[in-house]
Symmetry: C2
Subunit: 424 residues, 2 copies
């Protein structure tokens, strides 16, 4: 055996697929990036944060506390306010089940940290996690790093294809692999990358199927609901979370964030966890950092308590609605009719699908032509897990209206449209 | 095989030894805690932070950027300023070797996150890490969580007992375990828990021994220098870091923090890593959170750039010098002469050693008597690794002058002194 100084985890952990995209964008300042998942720069709550931090630090009651260590699970008031907010979003009464309580909540460094810790807490190398096909590529990276096999479940316009989910579960059963299955990961609102929202019925259906197969698995099968974009709704009905679809109160792990709906520079996220997962994750968090920055937590606490969070969110939703509308209009005008796309009801992304003969991958003529025209998109291919049961689709693109200015959205789509017309 | 929903890591991860101490303190508000590792409340830079955040956010150049995502490795200016600061501390010229450069630096959520990621990057279950005996208990928890065996190396008044280090290395060689050894972990300045500072000569000596044995190990053996308390020096000469003792530029992993010397509520730490470890750790950081809060990073950048960091640090050092002096005076007056202790030159801790017949552990009569008298300390036992080669010493206590007020330091030591006199 060769002796190694790097761990097995290190040797498995790949360069994130997006980093060369970021490097490309940085190297060329004239490039219009519709690739970045950054949020809108113009609507960042600069004035609001200035005032909040001022009030926070000038109060003798909160000032020193905000600059001192807190606890591993996070500020009790922030957990309470977040639990109340989730109850409100899920339309459950204030005196509702324990599942929406502050006692099940942990505050994290963005919801990303919670995704990482949940994976650490549940998954061993060789385990299996089901993901939407396509899914959030950073989560796919976490799975790969931990030696966990991702299996893709096809999507429909209202979320998971439940028939395919059953088929995949059945396939795992047949191969004797169910005992290695740990969870199903869903980005349930305005999904990254497709913009698709999972209907409440599909959440119920998925939980029912998981429950059905967990008897054969011999242990709980969790639904990990990543609700990172939930608050960024600008059209359509609000859909309740999977928490409201879990009659057991014990199978849904819910992660959310204040980064995207307030300020990505503040990075405060949270998770609501079933009891059996809560304790291990708190211990892991104790080892990661024994608690997130109190200053940032207090900032969010105050923003929530005084209504600034809510009023800023209203501004943000209008802003994204406007930017999505511009992108839609230009896609309509500039993209060939053979390219299919749907308008999302929230979030940051469009997900155009090209005719099959036209590839969109990093080595495709389209991608190179787009680069030549100074516009960048995320090749859809990067959002698919390494799943031997199907080839990775290679004819989609993720387009973000989050960070680009309105003007750049117009110009970027125009340039991409030209490239598409050239090649079709 | 029993099927598990929790990972092996979860099942290994224990309740932190200190959490019941914290729970005890919380449950009894009259308790004087000399146990907490919190920092001094009265000297937190409340006014400074208020002004810095105001300036930061009111400038159109920095305001929106501070509230937007940054990069995984962290803000370039903060990395540059931190590298310069380390060069200054290590008394190396500005045009010094690449090892002190911003290109080798990663900004983290406190230095704790860096300790975690370095362990993830280097260690597999079954590997061995050498630690000071005693050591920082949260790091011991990280090792345990990852299934890594901690082996203790005895300490002298100026750091590691190098003869014992050689003996431990030789023992690993004899047992064919050297290939599993990954690193030596040192809390090199005003150590948590003993207050001991490792001399520069001992750092050189340790590196030389590691280098000598790495030929037999078959891979690099790293020195992980945790310099969390470095800036909190209030007496004695400054000691250079292990970076200055590493002729290869490739074997020292250095972690530092702005949490303790500026504000623990801000949680900005950093690491300087050899090239071979840098890339894996950046990738892991990408999966953890793809970058620490930009707002906190910008706050520290501004504090460093405008001199507020330095001037606040001077205040803080005086403050801790004063509190250490008070603790020393009362230890001198109140503790029986049979109890040995030394005055630290910085940091937050005293480490009294009791006569062997008197135990200090959580179940000891002393600990119970102290609780009855409403004073809490950290039993020394909790700071020792599970190392089968020696029983855990059970006659020491960690006393912190960090968080307690001057008055509480006096009263706390008086009460502890009474308990000691009663039992001796």
């Amino acid at each position: 055996m060769k002796s190694h100084s790097l761990s097995t985890l290190s040797r498995r952990t790949k360069e994130p697929p997006i980093s060369w995209l970021m490097a490309t964008a940085l190297a060329n300042p004239n490039l219009i990036s519709l690739a970045a998942g950054f949020t809108d720069q113009a609507s960042l709550p600069v004035k609001e944060t200035t005032d909040l931090v001022h009030e926070l630090l000038c109060s003798p009651k909160t000032g020193p506390a905000a600059l001192q260590y807190g606890t591993t699970i996070g500020d009790p008031v922030l957990r309470e306010l977040t639990a109340s907010r989730l109850k409100h979003l899920d339309e459950v009464p204030a005196a509702s089940p324990a599942v929406w309580s502050a006692e099940r909540m942990i505050i994290t460094n963005g919801s990303q940290q919670m995704l990482y810790m949940v994976t650490e807490a549940l998954c061993d190398p060789g385990d299996v996690v089901l993901v939407e096909d396509p899914s959030y590529f950073v989560y796919l990276g976490i799975l790969q790093s931990h030696g966990v096999h991702a299996r893709g479940v096809r999507m429909e316009q209202d979320g998971l294809d439940l028939a395919h989910l059953e088929q995949v579960l059945e396939g795992l059963r047949r191969k004797g692999r169910l005992a290695r299955l740990k969870l199903l990961y869903l980005v349930s609102y305005y999904q990254n990358p497709t913009g698709i929202t999972t209907s409440f019925e599909k959440k119920q259906g998925a939980l029912k199927l998981l429950r059905q197969f967990e008897r054969l698995a011999g242990h709980p099968l969790y639904l990990l609901e990543d609700a990172a974009y939930r608050e960024l709704r600008f059209r359509g009905e609000h859909v309740k979370s999977a928490l409201a679809a879990d009659p057991s109160d014990e199978r849904v792990i819910y992660t959310g964030t204040y980064s995207k709906p307030f300020a990505t520079g503040a990075r405060v996220g949270f998770g609501l966890l079933p009891k059996a997962v809560y304790t291990p994750v708190v211990r892991i968090k104790g080892n990661h950092d024994f608690g997130s920055s109190n200053l940032l937590q207090q900032l969010l606490t105050r923003a929530l308590a005084c209504g600034i969070y809510e009023s800023h969110l209203a501004v943000l939703r209008n802003r994204y609605a406007q930017k999505a509308k511009i992108m839609r209009k230009h896609l309509h005008q500039q993209f060939p009719p053979a390219v299919e796309w749907r308008e999302p009801q929230g979030g940051l992304y469009f997900w155009p699908r090209l005719p099959h003969r036209l590839k969109s991958g990093p080595h495709s003529r389209l991608f190179q032509e787009a680069l030549k025209k100074n516009v960048l998109y995320v090749p859809g291919q990067l959002c698919y897990a390494e799943d031997p049961s199907r080839p990775k689709p290679n004819n989609e693109m993720r387009l973000s209206f989050g960070a680009a200015s309105e003007r750049n959205i117009c110009t970027g789509i125009e340039r991409l449209g030209k490239a598409l017309h050239q090649l079709l």
